[in-house]
């Protein structure tokens, strides 16, 4: 199919004096995994929030399956959002609900599954992220890494077409990180899920990515398949990657 799943076109966003995004262009094809790399505070999270319509662009456009989402009203936006699952950087679990209620929330909102089916689905989704028997706990009782995995399970509960991961593995141990990477790959292979992943872990980025985009100074400094990006002559990209791969 020619049309990309997500198109970001000349996206600008400022917060007061802080001009964060200065004309970002990005295309994400259906069934691919795009990893966004970039320094802390470079606007990766801000970019991701535009993709799902949590922030409105000052200028430019975000097109999801042909629909420019900044032109949609709240209700149409909800319809588009139903295609997405999003993992927040800080998990953003509902702290007044138990883990089970958190993961079950999208199921209870958007499906007609019975209570028993919801419970079963919740158990499965938690097991996928390596958590067992934590349904009755509250988010405050979990470790940071566990919270992150619950956030992951919640984002995947409805088997969305597009999953946005804001640093899904930051703060996880290497084994769990590897596990989450496999999860992203499996979701693509088995369900054809389109993923956008923000990561600080260059190793896992090159492991899961079909394409990599490096965000710097409010612009995409390099974009393409991992091998191509690795060869990029852009000074920031070279410096950024050399810290991982060593100076060639």
């Amino acid at each position: 199919m020619a049309r990309p799943m997500i198109q970001v076109i000349d996206l600008h966003k400022s917060f007061g004096e802080n001009h964060v995004l200065r004309g970002v262009n990005l295309e994400v094809d259906e069934g691919t995994t795009t990893v966004i790399l970039g320094g802390s505070g470079s606007g990766k999270s801000v970019l991701m929030k535009h993709v799902i319509g949590l922030l409105r662009p000052d200028r430019g456009s975000v097109v999801v399956e042909g629909e420019p989402i900044e032109e949609l009203d709240e209700r149409e936006l909800q319809r588009v959002r139903a295609k997405f699952g999003m993992v927040f950087q800080a998990a953003a679990l509902f702290d007044s609900m138990t883990v089970g209620e958190n993961v079950g929330f999208p199921l209870r909102e958007h499906t007609k599954l019975s209570e028993a089916e919801v419970r079963e689905r919740v158990r499965q989704k938690l097991e996928v992220v390596g958590l067992r028997g934590v349904e009755a706990k509250f988010p405050a009782e979990l470790s940071g890494g566990m919270r992150k995995r619950v956030g992951l399970a919640r984002a995947l509960a409805l088997d969305p077409k597009i999953v946005l991961y804001d640093e899904p593995t930051t703060g996880l141990d290497p084994i769990t990180t590897d596990y989450v990477d496999d999860m992203i790959l499996e979701a693509k292979r088995q369900l054809g899920v389109t993923s956008v992943v923000i990561s600080h872990d260059i190793g896992s980025a090159f492991h899961v990515a079909d394409r990599i985009a490096v965000l710097n100074d409010g612009l995409i400094a390099a974009e393409g398949p991992p091998d191509e990006v690795r060869q990029s002559r852009h000074p920031f990209v070279q410096r950024f990657l050399s810290l991982w791969f060593g100076r060639a």
């Binding site: 949590l54 909800q78 997405f84 927040f88 953003a92 509902f94 909102e109």
Partner: protein, 287 residues
């Protein structure tokens, strides 16, 4: 500076001018902020009204809020009502005994309570207890991105969080006000009849003569309006909280201050409005 020309060391006069300019600027900023807030709260009120009639209806959330706002406030509103009625009875008894009109204590207390004190005091207590809690809860949900998370799950946060709180507050404020009325008059009865020796039949008889249904109804209308404003202000402040824990603190603080002031200011205008309404629409009894 307008003097152009030479640079001068700032004189005392200039310093005073500077201070005055800053004071005016700060008043100006507050005024702009107020206009912005009023606009934002009105808009949130409109959106709430629209979402109120759109499915899915969040009955579970509504019941939880009715319980929290209504049932949870019974104790504090009851205590406030009891002591307001009691202290008011003591004061009016002493004042009225100067011209030997102690029998009017009950009617005076009942009139003041039902028209003014019950809705206003219940409003202030609900602002302190419920308004602060709403602003804090929504504020921390905002800064920890839980509100964003709701939105990404294709659930409208306004409908999920704001509508049940506003509806529950509008529904419960009149109930709490009735409670305040009842308990307050009971308190006055205790003090006047058992403490001061006012005749029970006179106490109740005067209430019946002097207090009209309009007085009570007017108080309940006020209460519902206060409930609407208190909850909208608290939701607005929490929903738009910025920053971390400090931002949540600011939101709560502003919600309580703005809510309390609003209750007192709006009470005055509602009193005028209701008085003119009753005087054109009903033939009043004595009072």
């Amino acid at each position: 500076m307008s003097t152009g020309g030479r640079e001068e060391a700032p004189s005392a006069g200039q310093a005073a001018t500077q201070e005055a300019v800053e004071a005016v600027e700060s008043v100006g900023r507050s005024a702009i902020q107020l206009v912005e807030d009023v606009g934002g709260i009105a808009l949130m009120g409109l959106q709430t009204a629209v979402w109120l009639f759109r499915p899915p209806y969040r009955l579970k959330n509504l019941v939880a809020q009715l319980d929290y706002i209504g049932v949870g406030s019974i104790f504090v509103v009851g205590i406030t009502g009891l002591f307001t009625g009691m202290v008011f009875a003591v004061q009016t008894y002493h004042a009225f005994s100067l011209f030997d009109a102690q029998g009017l204590v009950g009617a005076t207390v009942a009139l003041s309570l039902s028209r003014e004190l019950a809705p206003v005091f219940a409003g202030l207590m609900v602002t302190a207890r419920v308004g602060s809690a709403i602003a804090t809860e929504l504020g921390s949900m905002r800064v920890s991105e839980q509100i964003d998370a709701l939105a990404t799950m294709a659930v409208d946060p306004l409908q999920y969080l704001v509508v049940p709180r506003v509806v529950a507050c509008v529904a419960m404020m009149p109930v709490l006000t009735m409670l305040f009325d009842t308990v307050g008059i009971m308190g006055a009865y205790l003090v006047a009849v058992f403490g001061m020796g006012v005749d029970a039949a006179t106490f109740l008889g005067r209430i019946r003569t002097w207090v009209d249904p309009e007085d009570i109804l007017g108080g309940l209308i006020k209460a519902a309006v206060f409930g609407l404003l208190i909850s909208l202000i608290a939701c607005y402040k929490g929903y738009n909280a910025k920053g971390g824990a400090k931002g949540v603190g600011t939101a709560t603080n502003e919600a309580v201050v703005m809510g309390s002031v609003t209750v007192l200011v709006v009470d005055y205008f509602l009193s005028l409005l209701l008085a003119s309404f009753w005087s054109t629409h009903a033939a009043r009894g004595p009072g």
